[in-house]
Amino acid sequence: MNTLICLVSLLPLIGFLLNGLFRKSMPKALAGIIGSGTILVSFIITLVIFVQVKKEGFEPITVNLFPFITSDTLKIGFSFLIDPLSTLFMLIITGVGFLIHWYSTSYMHEESAPDYAKYFCYLNLFVFFMLLLVMGANYVILFIGWEGVGLCSYLLIGYWFKNLDYGTAAKKAFVMNRIGDLGFLIALFALISQFGSVNFDEVFSKAPTASTQFITCVTLLLFIGATGKSAQIPLYTWLPDAMAGPTPVSALIHAATMVTAGIYMVARSHVLYNLAPFSQTVVAVIGSATIILAATIAVKQNDIKKVLAYSTVSQLGYMFLGLGVGAYTEAVFHVMTHAFFKALLFLGAGSVIHAMSGEQDIRSMGGLKKYLPITHITFLLGCLAIAGIPPFSGFFSKDEILTAAYERNPVYYIVGVAGAMLTAFYMFRLYATTFLGGFRGTEKQQHHLHESPGAMTIPLIALAILATVGGFLGIPEVFAKNSNWLGHFLGPVLGEHAPEASISVSTEWMLMGVSTVLAASMVIYAWGRFSKKPELDTPRGIGKWMADKWYVDEIYQALIVRPLKAFSGFLDNVMEKGVIDGVVNGTGRLVQYSSRQLRYLQSGQVGGYVLLMVIGIIALFVVQLFLRK
């Protein structure tokens, strides 16, 4: 079993090495097979592990590979922890990952062979680091995966490196992630100083011994890391810019997996968060705020990928809202369903972009449903899922979060429902503008329109099936007794959540009903409005503010980036050259000046020398007789 566990993460690493070292001589087909094949085999092995984990009475397995850092009493090992939570994430990563790899073999086929191999090399490295993140048995291994996926994100966003704007987007992603990582690191050091260990089991068992303030500080710092990685307020602006990367990258990294790292980390640390109610409130509030902010921006975006990007930010807000009200299982459930439908939506968008010869503006699209039938149906299914229409997966997961939010505080529920309405609205605005109505693009584009090849459509179909039926894995108790399979599966790790505890069955039905009806009505409204009259004019007034992302980027530029540059310029020109170097060079000049002045003593005049002699003798006398006591 242990070797199987190691193999899961090792295979993508091998794929990375093979594609990386033999890039120049690797034919495209082979690169694609190595890249996707390793992930497929990892997925199969994960299924085998999953079968084991699913059994009743399963004890989490820890695999200790080797001692990583040992310093006196601090022992950090390179270890893996296999329990239901990590297994679930592993399944999502390798499963959805494989589908996206397969899709990429066709999507990226226009690249040259070395670049093609480079793409799969980076993608495999990403899967390796992501697996490391979820399989780690302590915070340090998690952090290794954490930063590693940040690196791969940087490499893949800037994949087409000739374009400097893409490079800037990649840099922004990395730096913003790093800002979050600062919080994570401080939390790590605090954990070491308090508990003397970073292993999950030791930290969680010793957690109740620490003071609430301490746990609150640590959890807040960890959450800062999560806001960076999972694009919450205030560190979310990198995610929309990250759409500069290839679409499968956006699907895998910025929708299904990397951005969920923050959720995983908070879910894993639920013991700590349960001990710090204040942090939970912060998480929930920021999650809620992000839901609304991102949704409002998505309403006015015209780039198909940007809409999906802001949608991701918003959905991540839902997950954090879930975590913040203590609904850990529900949040993880939403991670799973979101992985399905968001990856589906992104891959569908990729298919559209591919068919439109690279066009991404939805105002130039329209009526694509007759040219791209499979893409159309799967995209529609994805939209229904994300809008939360039963019986699609998004409905179950979102509703469970909303129910749990209502328990904690009805305001959260209202915010969540508002977000759901906005979600339904902008998603169907996107759907209708893209696929319905008449085609608004150029002649040339229309000629090129064709359905994507099998390697792209089959993953779409697979994900569509998952997005449709995936929700049945976690049906809330209210529908049928003992039906929440996912809740039972994750129960040993995350604690069973008993929804019957505080609200009655009828309230729960009513909540579900209200949100469904509101969402469905928005769907119908948006479908009707945008299929007839797509939104082509430039927005004005509040709409303009929403389209311009509420000027958050500009605020950051003005408040942080420009003052920092000015400050460093000041330091360089004034402090460095003027003050410090001035002192040093000034000392040298002072010495030269005084030596020039002293030189005048050497006048060659005998009289002068004698005078000095006499003065010296008198001085000696004075010192000797009067000043020495």
Binding site: R599, G604, G607, V610
Partner: protein, 108 residues
Amino acid sequence: MPINYYIFLAIALFCIGVAGVLTRRNAIIIFMCVELMLNAVNLLLIAFSKMHHAEVATDPNAGINGQIFVFFIMVVAAAEVSVGLAIIAMLYRNTHSVDVNFLNRLKH
């Protein structure tokens, strides 16, 4: 006579000598002033020698050190004058003047 008179006289002579050494340009005058300084010191030494001799009644050799030292000073003065005048003679031969201000070849 009270010792003070001798002290004041010796100081006066010494100061005149120092002033002369510092301010005069003629090398020979400078030498004379140096002699003045030395003789002032001689005067002082003898005066103190006599004072010590007068104070100590028992010892016939009291205060003799001062007078012996005067002899040393006189000998040194004589030697110094002979060497110094020889240098001045060489100085005159080279620069045709005994002006001390012309000796500035050591200037950088």
